[in-house]
């Protein structure tokens, strides 16, 4: 049967597009150093020349130099040259240039311009760090509830309504009010606060934030957390970092190809800030060591001596707009510039001239507690007084902190202050660190098993089904190319289970061709003519092919929905593979078979192995 041109056109376009968009993956990647200017939009020409000269002198000249978005990308042929180049450039051009390590594709620019980029490789194929952070939204809700308690008390006092007690349930952030007149309390509160849910149980009134309000707070906390993490990761100079919300209260952070694991871990994982407290000079700190700190104060230690500080800070990290670290007379210090809150700080310090003020470093740390025999990750605040200085004059928007222990601590602290405090405390609940050599091994093993698996199938199909087997093999190859193109286009990350999914698809997709060919053979055995057999075979098999793939698809979709990370990668390749196999195994092979056999009308001889 002569096929219409549109069929050939469709198949042709699909084949061409698939080949084009899977092409970038062939070019491989190169270790690279990205240079961007510290000031201004572009690297000045003379600086670039100086960089080139210094690299050439040290035998670390790049293989290729590219320009992209104002950055200069130097591509090298080995990681050791890449690292050497970075240290040469950082040492000599520190003040003028920012340098970052990165892994860059070698595919030509014209491909990128049509949107054809190579597949992103997952951590298990590239190496890097993965962190799963759990955001403590409950503590935000709790803080909100505690604020609400103050407001509620104010309203009730205003109306002269007495209560027997107000407390907040730490488990669900619900406010419980004991009162002799619960109905009146309930009515007053719900009149004044529209967004809260008020219920009455006997003599107790329970006030909770409405569900939309809770969802808004959760979403806000998650967004702000992700934004802050993004800033921190940018500061680290990790390219291609992926920070995503996972589920209700978790954030997944992927840092591929990172070479300084320790630093990344501490910057992402650390929640640290500065707070400033006035010293309490009315009570005796030594007495407080025995009897406990009096209300309104807290007990700290500085250089071994106990000291009492007021428990309300006069300045917190939220007010810090910018911070850098520097050295002065051999000691590291952090320079701080305030944003909002500068005025309040100014007036507070002007009222307290002559009083000592402590700069306190606050870091959130985690440890393992055993609760009923089960290990539970919990966090606590670690606070350390960095410095106590007497307020000489009203402090304005710019000032310095001294007393920091090392230059690294100063620059880390400045980075954390710059990127802002996290909206809510976070715990690292899962982390994975994969070295680059393992990544390369995984790639090799994945590709090897794909080659051998497909190879076995191809040989078998050829021997068993002859020409029809050859056509099926062409379909398999096209299927693999289509999967690669699809993954590259949608920007999905390829993982090792993803490669396994591709291998599996090869085995499952060939199922369709077996079905068709067996049907054709059945018809031929009955004595039906060649062309009619082909027609019957394809038509009868089609419904069964669709049916049998649907069930695997259903399961793959469930896996995609419930899974995350590499499991999701597997589900995606399976889904794409099965869908594209419908096209390659049926439409594509039919077209080829019909093209080959349309001339021999009425022929009974098909090269199908019988």
């Amino acid at each position: 049967m002569k096929k219409s041109w549109s069929a050939y056109l469709l198949v042709g376009i699909v084949t061409l597009v698939s080949c084009l968009y899977s092409l970038p993956n062939i070019y491989g990647e190169a270790p690279a150093v990205e240079i961007s200017p510290t000031v201004g939009e572009q690297v000045p020409e003379n600086i670039l020349n100086k960089v080139k000269v210094s690299l050439k002198n040290q035998n670390t000249f790049p293989e290729t130099i590219k320009q992209q978005n104002g950055k200069i990308i130097l591509m090298f042929d080995s990681p050791s040259k890449q690292i050497k180049a970075k240290s040469i450039i950082s040492q000599n051009f520190n003040s003028r240039l920012n340098t970052n390590l990165n892994i860059v594709s070698r595919s030509p620019a014209w491909l990128s311009s049509i949107g054809a980029d190579p597949m992103k490789l997952g951590l298990d194929l590239r190496g890097g760090i993965h962190l799963l952070l759990s955001v403590d939204i409950n503590s935000m809700l709790l803080t909100q509830a505690q604020n609400n308690v103050k407001e509620i008390q104010a309203v009730l006092n205003l109306k002269g309504i007495k209560t027997k007690g107000i407390e907040v349930n730490p488990g669900n952030s619900a406010i419980k009010i004991q009162s002799q007149n619960p109905k009146l309390v309930a009515k007053t509160i719900s009149d004044k606060f529209q967004n809260m849910e008020v219920t009455v149980n006997n003599s107790e009134v329970e006030v909770e934030l409405g569900t939309t309000e809770k969802k808004n707070i959760s979403d806000y906390v998650m967004e702000k957390t992700i934004a802050t993490l993004n800033k921190r990761v940018n500061e680290l100079g990790v390219a291609e970092a992926v920070i995503q919300r996972q589920g209700f209260d978790q954030v997944a952070v992927d840092l591929p190809g990172i070479q300084d694991a320790a630093r990344a871990h501490s910057i992402i994982g650390k929640t640290a800030t500065l707070r400033f407290y006035l010293q309490d000079q009315q009570h005796d700190p030594i007495k407080a060591q025995k009897d406990g700190a009096p209300s309104g104060t807290r007990l700290y230690y500085f250089k071994g001596q106990p000291i009492l500080l007021e428990d309300k800070p006069i300045l917190t990290g939220d007010s810090i707009a910018y911070a850098t670290s520097t050295m002065a007379e051999g000691s590291p210090l952090v320079v701080i510039r305030l944003g909002q809150g500068g005025n309040a700080f100014n007036s507070a310090t002007s009222k307290n001239i002559g009083r000592p003020m402590a700069s306190v470093y606050v870091e959130r740390k985690q440890h393992i507690n055993m609760v009923r025999g089960q290990p539970i990750l919990s966090s606590y605040n670690y606070e350390r007084i960095i410095n106590i200085a007497t307020i000489q004059s009203a402090l304005g928007n710019n000032f310095q902190i001294t007393g920091i222990r090392s230059p690294e601590e100063a620059s880390d602290l400045a980075l954390l202050l710059r990127s802002g405090a996290l909206a809510a405390p976070i715990n690292i609940v899962q982390e994975t660190s994969i070295g680059p050599s393992l990544g390369q091994d995984n790639i090799n093993q994945g590709i090897l098993s794909l080659q051998i698996g497909s190879g076995l199938v191809i040989i078998f199909m050829l021997l068993y089904y002859r020409l029809f087997g050859l056509v099926a093999n062409l379909a398999i190859s096209l299927n693999i190319v289509m999967i690669v193109a699809a993954l590259s286009l949608i920007g999905m990350t390829l993982t090792l289970p993803g490669i396994a999914g591709i291998v599996l698809t090869v085995g499952m997709a060939v199922d369709a061709n077996v079905l068709i060919n067996e049907r054709i053979r059945e018809e031929l055995r009955k004595g039906v003519s060649g062309l009619a057999s082909i027609k019957a075979g394809y038509e009868q098999a089609f419904a069964t092919i669709v049916d049998s793939n649907v069930t695997t698809l259903i399961v793959a979709i469930i896996l995609f929905a419930l899974g995350s990370g590499s499991i999701r990668g597997f589900a995606v390749t399976l889904i794409i593979g099965l869908l594209s196999s419908l096209f390659t195994s049926v439409t594509f092979t039919r077209l080829i078979v019909d093209t080959i056999y349309h001339k021999d009308k009425g022929s009974n001889k098909l090269s199908i192995g019988i």
Binding site: I368, L438, G446, F460, I610
Partner: protein
Amino acid sequence: MEFFRKTTCIDFMRLRKHSLVISLLLLVFSVGSIMHNGLRLGLDFTGGIQVELHFPNIVETANIRQSLEANNEPEVQVQSYGTARDILLKFQKINKNQDEFKQSLLKIFPNVEIRRIDIVGPQIGEELLNDGMLAVFLSVIATMAYIAIRFEYRFAISAALSLIHDPVLILGIFAFFKLEFNLISLAALLTILGYSLNDTIVVYDRIREAFKIYPEKKTFDIVNLSINQTLSRTIMTSGLTLMVVLALYIWGGPTLSGFALALIIGILVGTYSSIYIAGGFAVALGLSRETLIKPKKQSLAGTV
């Protein structure tokens, strides 16, 4: 080349009671293994720390364990992993973070290459386990619903019963050989749930077609015939997928071996269960021509 020159004439249905007994035995064996040996759950489900080490020379696990014990890291599982130079360490307790861990390991084994470190908090493991069970449950429901819509409810029930075989047997074999079952093995198990239905559906399709083509044959014979007709196709596709998965198992590396093994077991068991359980149960539940093909309504012209 042909393996199945003529359509075979094996009387599958006569042996269906025997097959039921075999199935029950296999199920009992599996459940017994699981209860006796317990299922070794991987890091993803239990939480803890897992480290992949690569040494420049061949190492003995006993020496590694001694070195670790001497350095106050006693509660650790040491096993060989992949090649003779690779070692997998598993720690139950998380009492350090990643960098402290790396430092302490490098002190004990100065020349080692730390290829991978996984730290999973305990709560995550539980969440994943729950999500996994939910996924299995949803898959069974969804696929049952699909078959009920495409065919009819007796088929759906029989298919569901045959479905239960596969995961139970996979878990049983993992338990028997004390193999580790982790998240990716679970993904394989779920894939098998979907995949083994393929064969079942092909058989059902044939049965339905055969009812139409041979109006005079009994249900028993129809089912037998359908299975025989599809036998060549069933064995070939299972064989081809099996070939591919074997390639994964042998050459895919240690990470994928649990995954590939679950698939291998699943394909073998699934093929068997599609043939016997699915067909046999449908017959047992009263499958007949009438249940499958809805009787045509009396046309007005016919009643005159």
